[in-house]
């Protein structure tokens, strides 16, 4: 019988079960007050510096959450936005947030209003600065490009889901003379942010960002749990490598055939053209 089916199999229960266990375990232990360590993320330490620069120049900033909707990526972006707006509120620097998703727009408005209120300056909140432009990729990009130039943006933050428009924004931000910080889980766009922005947060660091900025125990715990989960994946891979390599050198090693067959059944085989 084929191991790969439409639905869960024993390997799913074990591996995904362990992932869930590690993450929940670390979250709960962090919530109970265990101290957890997170390494420095250079791209994130620079956020405050970038806010400071806009203040010095007396010009507004743009925080663009990309094409994110109300999903995992979009909500992470909102956490980072909240942090930046709170810093900006301290210095009375304007933050313009152009959005490409109507639902996320309503969330952003709430989050921004809250951020200003938390910092004790609710009067600084300008509803028009949280702008819904359109939900079409390039129409949105053309609108943001317009804002970058017309508002003479000093600092631009790009945190969220991005596609081809990433480079259009980053190049125009560069032309407009803005300091730019970017972070996206959309792998394909990272090289362009790396090329055109001053600081770029790579891949997974995006998810670490909100934990790093807020120091919230739940998020820190989750991050540690994620590290354990990655170790699990590395471990699985290493056991597998050992198995298949041994099988290539010494095919009659006891028990080896069973292990390799197990891995094959659940992880690898039954694909047309797989090696």
């Amino acid at each position: 019988m084929s191991g790969m089916t439409d639905f869960a199999n024993p390997a799913v229960y074990i591996v995904e079960g362990l992932l869930v266990f590690f993450i929940l375990w670390k979250i709960l232990s962090a919530r109970r007050g265990r101290e957890l360590f997170i390494r420095r993320i250079p791209g994130l330490s620079v956020l405050d510096e970038a806010v400071g620069r806009a203040t010095e120049m007396g010009r507004p900033m743009v925080y663009a959450p990309g094409l994110s909707g109300l999903d995992i990526v979009g909500l992470q972006s909102m956490s980072i936005m909240s942090h930046i707006i709170r810093r900006a509120a301290n210095y009375s620097t304007r933050v313009i947030v152009p959005l490409a998703d109507p639902v996320l727009y309503t969330v952003a408005e709430e989050v921004a209003r809250d951020a200003y209120t938390t910092e004790g300056v609710p009067e600084q909140f300008i509803p028009e600065d949280i702008r819904y432009l359109t939900n079409e990729q390039f129409a949105w990009a053309s609108g943001v490009v317009g804002i970058l130039h017309r508002e003479k943006i000093a600092t631009a933050f790009y945190f969220g889901a991005y596609a081809a428009e990433a480079l259009i924004l980053a190049e125009n931000g560069q032309i407009a003379g803005a300091i730019q910080v970017a972070g996206t889980p959309s792998i394909t766009q990272i090289p362009f942010f790396l090329a055109a922005c001053d600081y770029t947060i790579i891949g997974d660091e995006y998810y670490a960002a909100s934990a790093y900025l807020s120091r919230e125990p739940t998020l820190l715990g989750s991050l540690v749990g994620q590290d354990y989960s990655k170790l699990l994946m590395v471990g699985l891979v290493l056991i597998g490598v050992l198995g298949v390599t041994l099988a290539a050198i010494e095919p009659h090693f006891p028990g080896l055939a069973n292990i390799n067959e197990l891995f094959n059944k659940y992880f690898l085989q039954y694909f047309p053209g797989s090696a």
Partner: protein
């Protein structure tokens, strides 16, 4: 539309016709409104429970649909019932997807109010560039109205006039969609061709080993992918050890080994990140601006 087998609605008819339909729709609307009023009346300390519960059940559906065994397991009593339940969850999936899509589509006007507010203020106050905002309104409503009219025949005007109106609307829609929408989109997209040139030129300076490495790889791949690359190292033999130094072979090796490994490393990290975030949202453990709000 076979929704019934999976939704026990024995008390009420699935579909009604004629005058009764209006009655039913009206009744259901009233029931829905009553439900909303009831929600409004929920005291603040129970609100969190409602939100947490709804989120949990939303996630539970898709989790169980995947995780429950869809075939009875031998020697385990009750597994046949579980499998039957799991299969009914799977069958309901297209219906759930339809409902989710329709409900989500009602958000279409959500952001539009904000857009209208900004641009109508610009037009009213005649701020600089107000005519642009006017152009925004004109094009917005033009394509919307023309689009709707071209699909729905206006029979009251008489057949001739209605046909003429429809023909005009179809033509106008063609101009707006083929002429404006598509070309604006493609042109905006193609700006990247220019920006990538200036970005590469400016960014790829050997400031650091990192930048050098990125630049070197990009350069090799750029040459190796196009016919010129093959032509540049044509003088190398096409078989044997030296063949592996041919640009197209280096390119392919870079793409399939180091690049593949790097991509996979990033993807593994992101996948675990997504699992963790999904768990936190599902179980309402998430913290952060949006989730910490008082309800």
């Amino acid at each position: 539309m076979g929704y019934l087998p999976d939704f026990p609605m024995a008390l009420l008819p699935v579909s009604v016709h004629g005058k009764m339909l209006a009655v039913y729709i009206f009744g259901a609307l009233m029931a829905g409104a009553a439900g909303l009023v009831a929600l409004m009346a929920v005291p603040p300390r129970y609100r969190k429970i409602v939100v947490v519960g709804v989120t949990f059940f939303g996630g539970l559906y898709f989790s169980l649909e995947f995780l429950l065994p869809h075939q009875p397991v031998a020697h385990i009593p009750g597994s046949a019932g579980v499998a039957r339940f799991a299969n009914s969850l799977t069958r309901a999936k297209p219906n759930i997807a339809d409902w989710a899509m329709v409900i989500a589509s009602f958000t279409l006007l959500l952001g539009t109010f904000n857009l209208f507010a900004i641009h109508s203020r610009a037009v009213k106050k005649k701020t600089e560039g107000w005519y642009n905002s006017l152009a925004f309104f004109i094009t917005f409503f033009l394509i919307l109205i023309v689009g709707i009219l071209k699909d729905s025949p206006v029979s009251k005007l008489g057949p001739g006039a209605a046909k003429g109106l429809q023909s005009v609307c179809t033509s106008l829609y063609g101009i707006l969609f083929d002429g404006f929408v598509q070309n604006l989109d493609a042109t905006m997209f193609s700006l990247i061709a220019f920006y990538i040139v200036s970005a590469a030129y400016r960014a790829f300076r050997v400031r650091s080993a990192e930048a050098g490495l990125m630049m070197g790889t990009a350069g090799i791949i750029m040459l190796g992918l196009v016919p010129v690359g093959a032509w540049l190292t044509n003088w190398l033999p096409s078989t044997g050890l030296l063949a592996s130094l041919r640009l197209e072979n280096i390119t392919y090796w870079l793409l399939t080994w180091p690049n593949m490994a790097a991509q996979r490393a990033i993807e593994f990290g992101l996948a675990i990140g997504a699992v963790a975030m999904s768990l936190r949202i599902w179980l309402s453990l998430e913290r952060g601006s949006f989730f910490d709000r008082q309800l």
